[in-house]
């Protein structure tokens, strides 16, 4: 396998983006930041891949206008996944692995505030027996949280601890939509939202976009002295059926962890849009208490649909660039109740080095 690193990352997260659902206006400055970080122009980018959702944008082919942000005359080599940024990055990583290209810029965007997000996501469910009763995302997560509490795997106190740590860490994140820690007792005194979830247990509806830059070998070393070399990249999916799944588990997350080299991971950015989901992920990935979780504040403090997973990888990569960590993990999830999961482990040392 080729040594490929994350060498660029740009993001925007906001409660409400005052612009079009295609987010072209948001992507142009993001690409500019990536060019500045790398010293590249768009002609240095060998492959482009984007992630977005037509349902979120409320129209077909929403990604078509987004390519205007690239400027595609002459034409560019590109693709698009109806998935989170993390999977767009996976496709780009594969493309670089084939040897056809050495560099890639991947991006994703989504204006969650354009509709009622929890209802929009109900359209993601099995259309014959589930969608007609409109089970919304928050309610489904509530069922999952309740299942874990009933099984004695976690309690509301543990969930509040996750939320308090996230809100406290988010104070240092300029892009966080929700921030400000207090105390577990104070959080537990707040009203229920979807029992047993309180509002701070649920990711805020967030608009935003993000971009990651990948480069192989010397192309990465030309950009930075300390690239975040991708040591493992793996993803799996579980069946959706909520009635037959053990909601307290996420076999696809476990499998992605088992397929990865998790040795020496110091920092993990976990894409957990609900507080109890962080507890499930930590358990499935076998992350010990010595692993620093979500120093960015994580998805509980801002969760732009279709880029939040990739932002976890970008946040983890930043910790390697800065020297804060030498091995870091980024995780992304998709589908209801942690159905699909991706794990990306990055390290300051490449495998060839």
């Amino acid at each position: 396998m080729r040594d490929i690193a994350v060498v660029g990352f740009a993001q925007r997260q906001m409660a409400e983006f005052d612009g079009s659902p295609t987010c072209v206006e948001l992507l142009v400055p993001l690409f500019a930041e990536c060019y500045e970080q790398t010293g590249w122009t768009r002609r240095d980018v060998g492959f482009w891949c984007s992630g977005s959702s037509d349902y979120l944008a409320g129209r077909s082919f929403s990604f078509v206008q987004a390519v205007d942000a690239i400027g595609v005359i002459p034409p560019v080599n590109e693709s698009h996944v109806e998935m989170d940024l993390a999977w767009a990055m996976y496709e780009a990583w594969i493309k670089i692995q084939t040897g056809e290209v050495d560099t890639a810029l991947v991006y994703a965007f989504g204006k969650s505030s354009a509709g009622v997000l929890r209802r929009t996501l109900a359209l993601q469910l099995e259309p014959y027996t589930m969608t007609p009763i409109w089970p919304d995302t928050v309610s489904l997560a509530g069922l999952q949280a309740r299942a874990g509490i009933d099984a004695g795997l976690w309690d509301e106190q543990a969930m509040a601890e996750v939320a308090n740590r996230s809100l406290t860490d988010a104070e240092r994140n300029d892009y966080a939509v929700r921030k400000g820690g207090s105390s577990v007792a104070e959080l537990l005194a707040r009203p229920m939202y979807a029992d047993p979830l309180r509002k701070h247990d649920c990711a805020p509806v967030t608009d935003g976009a993000a971009a990651l830059v990948l480069a192989a070998g010397d192309r990465a070393r030309e950009v930075t002295e300390r690239p975040a070399w991708i040591r493992s990249l793996a993803h799996y999916v579980d069946p959706m059926s909520m009635g037959t799944r053990d909601l307290t588990r996420s076999p696809s997350a476990r499998r992605a962890g088992e397929a990865s080299d998790l040795g020496g991971v110091e920092v993990a950015e976990l894409h957990a849009p609900f507080s109890h989901q962080e507890l499930i992920l930590r358990s499935e990935l076998g992350l010990g208490d010595d692993v620093r979780i979500n120093p960015s504040g994580g998805a509980l403090t801002s969760n732009p649909m279709f880029s939040a997973g990739g932002i976890r990888i970008g946040e983890a990569a930043r910790r390697i660039w800065s020297g804060e960590a030498s091995t870091a993990l980024g995780h992304a999830t998709s589908g209801p109740a942690l159905q699909q999961n991706l794990v990306c482990v990055m390290a300051s040392e490449g495998q060839d080095a």
Partner: protein, 329 residues
């Protein structure tokens, strides 16, 4: 390690119809997948990863349907990718699937592309009002008529060339058991006499709205060598272009079944258009030709074939070239 060769060892497609009310979305995909797996002599359990492609989710009314389909598509516990690059998606999906093999990450990849247009209304799904854009409400035809008009003006192509293409493809479709349209009486004259829809495009020059799916099994060199099919095809990367003179080829009969460069022997998109699957059908049909497995619409001795797909406002393009021999580079 470098780029690994990838071979198509299984091709499957559904019978394409206006409404496949006998199957669900999952059933439609499985019909194509099961044929591809049978062709490859493989079971779903042996597959390492699944790559799904389809055009806009609004065509069926389910957001990211691959999530609810995951188990039916045999993806549970495996990596699952979902590609969407507008009308070119069937081709792009096959390219992503072959990249998984070429990258050396997987050895056996199944890819499936589908559209079940009868679940909703594509014309409506393509006509959602967009702020600051002039509403067209004319579906794809309204979008492409100016492109066709522009081509005719620049190339000097006579007006009946489109009708030659339509008549040829409809006749070819009669030899393809999976094709949607079976109109034995179609001639150049009958096409030219059909209703004008989006000047200069006439009714018989347009594709049907189809329900359908296409699946391919892609494999690494060692797996392909052990495949029961004696002539696996090898993907190559090539460019292909012919500008301004394309219509002359058509008019001369060179693109007919017995011509020098037969085009769309299956009847093409003009005879079946399950949008998300259409690109993969082109790729799959190209593979069938070089394997000598295209049945009645086989071109004798075809050794190298091009699969081509396009989408969006004629702006997304995907292609692959397959050959009966392993590439040397």
């Amino acid at each position: 390690m470098g780029k690994q060769p990838a071979a198509v060892i299984g091709v499957g497609q559904t019978h394409h119809r206006a409404k496949r009310e006998d199957v669900s979305m999952a059933g439609l995909c499985r019909e194509a997948m099961d044929r591809a797996l049978e062709d490859a002599g493989m079971t779903l359990d042996e597959i390492d990863a699944i790559v799904v492609g389809k055009a806009p989710d609004l065509f069926e009314g389910v957001m990211m349907p691959e999530l609810f389909l995951a188990e039916a598509l045999g993806a549970a516990g495996k990596p699952l990718l979902r590609v969407h690059t507008a009308g070119s998606v069937g081709g792009s999906t096959a390219i992503v699937a072959s990249s998984l093999v070429q990258a050396g990450v997987h050895r056996k990849v199944l890819t499936v592309a589908y559209e079940k247009q009868s679940e909703s209304n594509a014309m409506w799904a393509l006509s959602v009002p967009i702020p600051f854009n002039m509403p067209v409400h004319a579906g794809a035809g309204g979008y492409f008529a100016p492109h066709v008009r522009s081509y005719i003006r620049r190339s000097g192509a006579p007006n009946h060339v489109g009708a030659i293409v339509a008549a040829k493809d409809r006749q070819n479709a009669l030899k393809n058991p999976y094709a949607h349209l079976k109109n034995p009486d179609t001639t150049v004259e009958s096409v030219l006499a059909s209703q004008m829809l989006w000047d200069p495009i006439r009714y018989d020059e347009t594709c049907p709205s189809s329900d359908g799916a296409c699946a391919l099994v892609l494999a690494s060199e060692d797996v392909a060598a052990a495949s029961p099919n004696p002539e696996p095809m090898w993907l190559e990367s090539l460019g292909f272009a012919a500008e301004g003179d394309g219509w002359k080829l058509t008019e001369s009969g060179a693109t007919a079944m017995d011509g020098k460069l037969p085009v769309n022997c299956s009847g093409g998109v003009l005879s079946s258009n399950p949008i998300g699957a259409s690109g993969m059908l082109r790729f799959g049909e190209a593979a069938l030709q070089v394997r000598g497995a295209a049945g009645e619409h086989q071109v004798d001795g075809a050794r190298r074939a091009l699969g081509h797909a396009y989408g969006g406002g004629s702006q997304f393009f995907a292609m692959w070239v397959v050959g009966s021999e392993k590439p040397t580079n």
